[in-house]
Amino acid sequence: MATLDVSAPTVELLRIATAGSVDDGKSTLLGRLLHDSKAIMADQLDHVRAVSQRRGSGAEMDLSLITDGLRAEREQGITIDVAYRYFATPRRRFILADTPGHVRYTRNMVTGASTADVAVLLVDARAGVVEQTRRHATISALLGIPHVVVAINKMDLVDWDRVAFDRVMRDFAIVAERLELRDVHYIPVSALEGDNVVSSSAAAPWYTGPPLLEHLEEIDVSAARARNGGARFPVQWVVRTHTYRGYAGQVAGGELRVGDPVIVLPSGDRSTISAIDGPEGETDVALPPASVTVRLADDLDVSRGDLICHPSDAPTVTRDIEATMCWMAEEQLQVGRPYLLRHGTRETRAVIEDVYDRLDVETLVHDPKAATLQLNEIGRVHVRTSAALTPDAYTANRTMGAFILVDLQTRDTVAAGMISDPAPPPRSANVVWQPGGLTRTKRWSSLHTTGACLWLTGLPASGKSTLSAALEARLVSDGRMAYVLDGDNLRHGLNGDLGFGPADRAENVRRTAHVARMLADAGVIVVVSLVSPTRVDRDLARQVLETDGLSFIEVWLDTPLDECERRDPKGLYARARKGEIPNFTGIGQAYEPPVAAEVVVRPHDGVDGAVEQVLRELSR
């Protein structure tokens, strides 16, 4: 079997992002790079020449016409969106993302820079390091571009004065140090004359380094690529036939080998890799960025969004992350509003709990008073997700440390996030719990009450509603404060925005648990009647109550599926069988029975028997 190694140290594909302002001569530099490396074809050059003449650029060819491809760009003479260019030398193949320099199009620069190995930043030798330069350097640093080249242009206009070059170098070094840019290289060039772009220049004998293209050919990017970290394989798609079951995805870190013990997150199930199928057939090993299909030795429930990794260096499973985020929408960030978050192959709802600060990219100062982020602004935020994530820090893994936010109404991509802390403390730092003047003991003893939570779980039509009503009636007639939180009723109001997919179900349970906690704290015996099909969500609910010192009693209505389906008072099973209700628990979605419920109720117990059982448990 062959080893599928698409990221060997000698791999020849290099992704470059370039940035500069109009006056820096960036387009001319790129035109020069493409022209002198013979990447522009004769007919493209004819076209550029013809348009230059028509636009009155005279005999001078306007090389910016090569990269500015949209009508609006050519009319306004500016770069609005990223343009991708492709060229090759015998040593390397380059993908060049030419990104706009203007602050209004920062989001487009972020698009082009997100996958770059190298950033080439243009500086005008006469103007030196300006605000734009600092912004481009900041974005390069935030996006974790491992190598930066500062091309100091228009050296011919300062007579190749070494002092001018040194001044830019010194000023940029200060910025680079603050941003922790580790690999920065400085090259004096004249794009107009072609000096030090493709071939070395005799004009600056004091510069002994390579010209730009040669430097780009030589940069060693192998170390920076995420292959030394832990193995990361986000499951993208399940490939299934009658005889085959494999998990398809793109390796996002480390290496996967046949025979490796693996853990699937967030379930925590363990298995061994039994085979890896690559584009060229079976293989022993898969490294980033290979797209492969992994087969496991055991028959597990693995689906899109799960992460396969090694148990020895697995990431944290969390619903809280701290991240640096670039806001990309006209409408400002709204704390507390739900967005859709994409991380790896996981899609979940998420809420920004808090904006910690905003970065002034020109002065590099953090403003802790910021409460939101506007278009093109960058800041640190705390994000809480509905489903569990398996994140890495962005500095450790550029794929598993990144996420995007999508607006639920406009469906636009509104933010790019780089995770700084994959597991911060769950409560936002500057929302402090407001203590009341009254202690719980004082409240309960004055009202002669004791709060608690009875959590009724089971299949639809298993008898939860009947039992909860009976419990509520009995408790109230005994003079106790009791109140039913019914899953269906909650969906009419508080949880009316939620659907029935796994993420929304998790959120449904989370909200219900928090409401139950408050009511129980107030002294009510809360009777929750909710299918709550997954163990992890019920455990979370238990945690919410118990960490607050409140008693949580899990009551499982263990009514068999065929009995529930026979009852079917709302006709829902019949509709689910016809395929009209996807994700219906028991039919389209599994119900995970509790393993340690305090009370288990079976059909032959009857309603009265069940009420007695629960009250006995409550009085313990």
Partner: protein
């Protein structure tokens, strides 16, 4: 596998595998995120590579989406024969959307005269076909190195309810996190070959040993010369005065319909010879062989805004 190409291009081989991995990831992402994708298949070399990648993305299972061919009725017969054979071999589902049907239904009006082409009419047929079958995602084989408007387009290219592209309102596209969220009636065009060059496509065809329609290799056919390009003679192509047909040895670099696709003079009859020619050429494929891009400075951008491929 072609040992000659592999042995002389080891580096190209590695970067082809990186491109292949990226494309497969994109194709799977569409299948996972969108309800009803379709792969636009023209029988040209790019869509042949695209189809190959799609097969690899899901095997040993079959393709989870059908193919659609927008048939102008002016296709090279060799390409149609190739299409039908390949589809039969794969057992794939093929939908043919016909420009002739759009004309017959009064949805499109045939251009007339010697320079008539059905190129622009394809957009109507394409959009009708997508709507009729309820497709919410369409894979295309377009590459960014082809043309300057394509160089600006995202991999997941969002289209409004009318199938139109707004180049100034493109969604940011970061890392390998693609946003396939769409509203009712909206759709995405997806270009998994965005980062491939013409040479990459040819090298991949050689490395994978893929069959191509015969017109990609040097052959003798009856042609006439117009605007410095060689066009095949056909029943539906009117000649201008002085456009005398003659026989020449040619091959095609691109496959559009016969009315707007030019041939190049070439003796390259094998894959190796074609790869060598492409590597040495100084003219782009669209510049050399496509009349449809010569209409104006922003011809492709304008057609894309209308909903073209």
């Amino acid at each position: 596998m072609n040992p000659h190409v592999l042995s002389t291009e080891p580096k190209a081989m590695r970067n082809l595998r990186v491109l292949e991995a990226e494309s497969i990831h994109i194709i799977r992402e569409v299948a996972a995120q969108l309800e009803r994708p379709v792969l636009l298949f023209s029988g040209g070399k790019d869509s042949i590579v695209l189809l190959r990648l799609a097969v690899k993305a899901f095997r040993p299972a079959g393709l989870p989406f059908p193919l659609m061919h927008v048939d102008t009725g002016h296709n090279f017969p060799e390409v149609i024969a190739y299409r039908d054979q390949l589809v039969a071999e794969l057992g794939a589902e093929l939908i043919v959307a016909s420009v002739q049907d759009s004309i017959d239904a009064g949805r499109a009006t045939e251009e007339t005269g010697p320079r008539a082409s059905r190129n622009r009419l394809q957009t109507v047929t394409l959009l009708d076909g997508l709507r009729q079958h309820g497709f919410d995602a369409a894979f295309g084989g377009a590459r960014r190195d082809e043309e300057r408007a394509r160089a600006k387009e995202r991999i997941f290219s969002f289209r409004d309810g009318l199938g139109q592209w707004d180049p100034r309102a493109q969604r940011p596209e970061l890392w390998n996190l693609y946003n396939g969220a769409i509203g009712p009636g909206e759709s995405v065009r997806v270009f998994p070959l965005s980062n491939w060059t013409e040479l990459d496509v040819w090298q991949y065809i050689a490395a994978e040993g893929l069959d191509l329609p015969s017109i990609y290799f040097a052959h003798e056919r009856e042609v006439f010369s117009r605007d410095g390009m060689l066009y095949a003679t056909a029943d539906f192509v009117e000649h201008l005065p002085g456009e005398e047909p003659f026989r020449a040895t040619v091959r095609y670099r691109t496959v559009g319909d016969m009315s707007c696709t030019g041939a190049v003079r070439s003796q390259a009859a094998t894959l190796e010879a074609v790869v060598a020619e492409i590597a040495a050429t100084r003219i782009t494929e669209r510049g050399e062989t496509r009349a449809d891009d010569r209409v104006g400075e922003a011809a492709m951008e304008d057609r894309k805004r209308e909903g073209y491929f």
